[in-house]
């Protein structure tokens, strides 16, 4: 009786949410199931429709594949390093440049420009930038320092990629930090100035703690994006030299398209799937617990 009135309302809301749910079921739910089935099957491009169950063989193959572990290690190291570099640089720039940007917001537009360009295109651009004959970087290094470096060689490719990624995505961190910095109420700064706080005290004891949540979020986002990197690395180095710059995304892509190892590619996908969602839901859980504690 009493529910009767509420029910049509809820039902109408359900109806409104239905399209997106259906869409996700078709385009993510179905693939997820295919993933699960194929990951425990023996499949090749010829036997796509008749996968034969083969237990955990594919997982075993991935597990014992040193390239998988190399790619995992690359993704993790790459994500961590770029996240830390981008956030450090972004934080410094956000605070140091804020007096300039406050008055001229077009400066921010210039700094944000790299974010608008496709990472794949940026990767291609660096092929030009670092090219030994037409690239300005090797040219200037040679003319002014007499140095000739191999940027994409075995020892340096990783670091080149780190720099490429960092230079493109530092603006993202910068923007987040700038917003957070601007959002600090000026009363707080004024009050602490009345208390006699020097500007570096204010930075350390007031502004940075207030920005901490944003810093954590930025580190997290940048780590995730660095971890799953594909576009710029793929166009710049492929996975070379010698597979040393294959990220997990590239590992899965190559296992599937280059080696035709469907089972292995899918098993690696499932591992990544489970780990990502476990980590993300764990983080959500912690975040909601923290929020609850603060409230």
């Amino acid at each position: 009786m009493t529910k009767a009135q509420q029910r049509p309302l809820i039902q109408e809301f359900r109806l409104l949410a239905t399209p997106v749910v259906l869409f996700l079921l078709v385009f993510l739910g179905f693939p997820a199931i295919v993933n699960l089935i194929y990951s425990v099957s023996d499949v090749s491009f010829e036997t796509l429709r008749q996968p034969e169950l083969s237990g955990l063989k594919n997982f075993a193959a991935v597990w014992s594949d040193s390239a998988f572990w190399q790619a995992s290690w690359f993704s993790f190291r790459f994500g961590l390093l770029t996240a830390v570099l981008e956030c450090t640089l972004g934080l410094f720039l956000a605070i140091f440049l804020s007096p300039l940007i406050e008055r001229r917001s077009w400066l921010m537009a210039i700094l944000m420009l790299p974010l608008m360009v496709a990472p794949a295109l940026v990767g291609l651009m660096y092929r030009l930038v670092l090219h030994e004959f037409v690239g300005p970087v090797p040219y200037y290094l040679w003319t002014y320092f007499g140095a000739s470096l191999s940027f994409l060689g075995p020892g340096s490719a990783f670091w080149t990629l780190v720099v490429v990624e960092t230079l493109q995505w530092t603006p993202f961190a910068l923007l987040l930090f700038y917003m957070a910095y601007q959002a600090i109420p000026s009363e707080i700064a004024e009050a602490s100035a009345m208390d006699g706080a020097k500007s570096h005290h204010r930075l350390w004891y007031i502004e940075l703690p207030l920005m901490l949540p944003t810093i954590v979020v930025a580190l997290l986002i940048r780590f995730i994006d660095g971890f799953r990197v594909f576009d710029n690395v793929y166009v710049l180095t492929g996975s070379g030299p010698g597979g040393s710059t294959a990220s997990l995304s590239i590992y899965i892509y190559e296992a599937f398209f280059k080696q035709g190892a469907i089972g292995k590619a899918v098993a690696a996908s499932v591992i990544l799937f489970v780990v990502s969602f476990a980590v993300l839901y764990g983080l959500n859980f912690i975040a909601s617990r923290r929020k609850g504690a603060i409230r």
Binding site: M1, T2, A4, Q5, Q6, P8
Partner: protein
Amino acid sequence: MATISLKKAGKQYGNLEIIRELDLDLADGEFVVIVGPSGCGKSTLLRMIAGLEETTSGQIFIDGRDVTAASPVERKLAMVFQSYALYPHMTVRRNMGFGLKLAKLPADRIKAKVEAAAETLKLTHLLERYPKELSGGQRQRVAIGRAIVREPVGFLFDEPLSNLDAALRVDMRLEIAKLHRTLGATMIYVTHDQVEAMTLADRIVVMKDGRIMQQGSPQALYQTPANLFVAQFIGSPKMNLLPCRRSADGLDLSGEGSIRLPLSGPAAPAHLGARPEHLSLVSPDSGDCRGTIEVSEYLGGNTSVFVRAGKLGLINVSAPADTPYRIGETVGIRIDAASSSLFDDAGAAIAANR
């Protein structure tokens, strides 16, 4: 126009009971004002009647029809919100006509109705403006206009004037009173403003913790509050409460004085309630009790004098504007016992005192 009645209507959020088995009957065309402390459930009650909030127990009737499960439109009521809730992307004309358009009325009928309502509310010259181009008072008028074009059987107001400044509030109050007279519609009006409650209401309902503490005409509530809560809540400044005990020929005011008052039956008064205007300042030896003036506030028409009277505490007396008594002076207080109220230990009024 319509009668509205609630039969043991209740509202629970989980285990939290917001409205408890509430009975309320509105006659056709009646103007009922609901007052009560913040959080007592006034808005919730209004929204239950509107159909915006599910009624978890009991029933609601409009014109004798059970509408407990009906949607807001089916109830044919209109609501005016504190924040106006005008559609920001529509002109005044479209704001007022939106409900009619949804009801699929022909355009010319909508136009006629909107313009008639605009005429009543003096909004005609504002019809093509957007809400953000209006002052607070004008927005409030549009909100009311939106309510009246649909010719509802009843109006629900949730603190409609609390966002307006004091002068505008008086104007709009008069206008709402006029509207009630011309439309003759049943109205329920929630407010925190004592003056609005006293002036607009045919009947005031005082709520506390989701229950009705007392309902009745403004006079009845003011003069014969049913309990301590209502006595304290209605009237500004507040009623003085003097602890007292029954004595042989009347009341003993905690040893600070006494009043002769014939009491019948087994009444056991614990508090004497006296409004400031029922007290007067006299020479120290001639009052019912006495004390020292601690604060004196000149208010223009009168002076509000606060007297410290021992165990009786601080007593607020409404004295003439040109009262001769000064701060620090010891004065007597005379109590108009006939106009006062008596309450027992549990806070219920004792009817037998006059």
